[in-house]
Amino acid sequence: MKSPRNNTTIIAAVLAVIVALVTFIGLVTVGLGGERGMGMPTDGGYFLQAAATPVMENLTTVHNMVFYWISGITALVMALMVFIMIRFREKANPVPSKTSHNVLLEVVWTIAPVLVLLFIAVPSMQLLYFQDKLPETEMTVKAVGNTWNWSYSYPDAENVEEIISNPLDKATADTLDLPYLFVTDAALVVPVDTNVKVLVTSLNNMHSWTVPSFGIKMDAVPGIINETWFRVTREGTFYGQCSEICGIKHYFMPIEVQVVSKEAYAAWVANDGVFPAQYKQYITEKTVKGSLALNTTSMGSGQSAAQK
């Protein structure tokens, strides 16, 4: 009678350990590996988008740290369940014990999670304050949510007209081979390696100004001006999508940020918000065909009557 039961214990323990390892290693390798999009999601991706700002780098670190903990906890519970379900099934353990208290055990499983949470809370708080406390910013942009587009203005550069950023419709986006539901007819232009303060507000419904690669999501609330900041460490185009339900075209008011070199930005501002010819690498096909894009957008998106 004794040996088969010992065998059950061993088999259960071995299986439990295997399940725990497979779960943990699986979660961590799958969860933290994988291709990551820069400035936009990657096809079929299953991880955070790549970081373009120090905030997002920090955010990714905290996410990964928490991810190790929660994968470990999931693996532990899974292993315990596997062990219990094999070792203490009716056949293997016909006579149940009557234990119903163990003060030490109960104290341990109350204290242990507290310690884990402290490990999580400290870096998490650091991230929160880093993200939320604005450093000395060098310039300001204002993002205003409207139903359903974003408009950007530059309080520091009054000669640059307000940018109204409408999404391109599918036909135009496909013609230009640009990502539909991300691309707009006019992006927010900011310089690289610069601390930019973003003021976010809304004209009517709530919206949320979001750029995943920047680690930014800031609600646009009517009557309130929220502020946040970013410092993009590389040039390129970064996309985001409105992240607070705002009505019919909620899915159709993307955010596009074009990050250019400091000189190009200075020239862009000096030239009233248009890139001079020598910065032709920043002049996209879309900008050239801007008239086409604008026409189709205003016809296609139907954003006029429904809200009013």
Binding site: G37, P41, M81, L128, N205, K217, D219, A306
Partner: protein
Amino acid sequence: MVALPGENISVEPSGYADDDKPKFFQRWFYSTNHKDIGTLYLIFGIISGLIGGFLSYMMRMELAAPGIDVFDSEHQYLVYVSMHGLIMIFFMVMPALIGGFGNWFVPIMIGAPDMAFPRMNNLSFWLLPTALICLLISFVMPGTATEGYDVATNGFGGSWVMYPPLSTTGHPGPAFDFIIIGLLAAGFSSIFGAINFITTILNMRAPGMTIHKMPLFAWSVLVTAFLLLLALPVLAAALFMLFTDRIAGGTGFFDPARGGDPQMFQHLFWFFGHPEVYIMILPAFGIVSHIISTFSKKPIFGYLGMAYAMVAIGVVGFVVWAHHMYTVGMDVNLKAYFLAATLVIAVPTGVKIFSWLATMWGGSIRFSIPMQWALAFIFLFVVGGVTGVMLANAGVDAYLHDTYYVVAHFHYVLSMGAVFGIFAGFYYWFGKMFGVQYNKWLAGAHFWFFFIGVNVIFFPQHFLGLNGMPRRYIDYPEEFAIWNQVSSFGAQITLVGVGFFFAMLFVSLVVQRKKVGDNYWGEGATTLEWTLSSPPPYHQFNTLPRIEDNAEH
């Protein structure tokens, strides 16, 4: 959890079972009997679940591929999103867990003949169909337009959170007024129910049934009732403020143009909304505790810890609400507080998980259908719980807020937590409630299709969220296509599971009708409902049972 001495078996006088039941209409429409009302609640929950499930199935079909194929208008999709949330929360989970199982088993478990206020109990129930009808009417009422019947403007598409200004100036039509009225009715129903449960549990326990001997399900309903009583008036107030804000020339509580503040609505809403999620999960905790104990043939481990963990969850649940609104532009110190408070919730929840595992440790486990649901509940609740720890971090939440990661998280704790708790309880008490046992094969098929289906639906949604897909989008970029397709395939699997559920109901209740005895689960089932016949007599405990001092919980 009360191990009863033998004397309780003969408390029912002979000839007691054929008490005169009222005729059909009186019995089911004027009903004041807690068991009949419980059954009505369960039937109501199943009907609402079908409506809410249909809405979500249509959403999944729309999202199966990029582009807008299934819905006629973007607005209609948002209406489905909003109504799915409202119906599943207020008309499926709450009625099934609190109204259904609470009504059925709380009086029996504490040894009471009925609820304290049977007529108010009847009112509680009948307010709910009224409320649901109001919500269904709102589907065909003008929403974003003030008049005219057009699928592109009918119904309310502002999500279950109903944030103004989208729910005030954004939806000037009467559709949202119907929702306000419906939710107020449902809220009053819950408040009456809560008063009833608190009174019943505090005053009508059988002699010897001290509060520390009370079964954990009764504990969970007691805590839930207090949460309802404190949280729902806040929702009612917030809804009423919305109502008056919506009137032209009315108030301006949430209108910045008149000195109001739209963020204030979010604070009010989530002050209700966060306790609400515990309202939905605590009764499931209670049910799972009984099932784990019964099928391990062991008393519950750490009974007092389990009971007070629920109290702790209830108390802390009231001071963490703003973690739903980290991105709304709160002060950083406030966010830091809510971050810390939210992490604290993980401690009592961990106590519950580990106590369930310890209950099974050393037990003699039988894997009957209810036990399968309960084991799945524990595991899936852990998965949903740990992603909650991730989301609690305000910094990381700036990335994950309002993405599919959140959708995956709360469906793991609700669609797999609360709903698995409902099914676990349903199969556990099936024989007790209906006097006949479920068909094992069909019930097993239901479990496996459902278990696999919901995991296939919701696990890939973590990936979508991490990759950046926002919630409440009818159309999405190509990059999100693969995992959405997988997720929608999971909806098909789940649909098969739902089919097996109804086949199980039909075969078990109509075709087979396998009669069961008083205590068909055997030695592990020790609460008072197992001392009664199956189904219990129309009026039980005419002579109150007496719980001995040495009885274990």
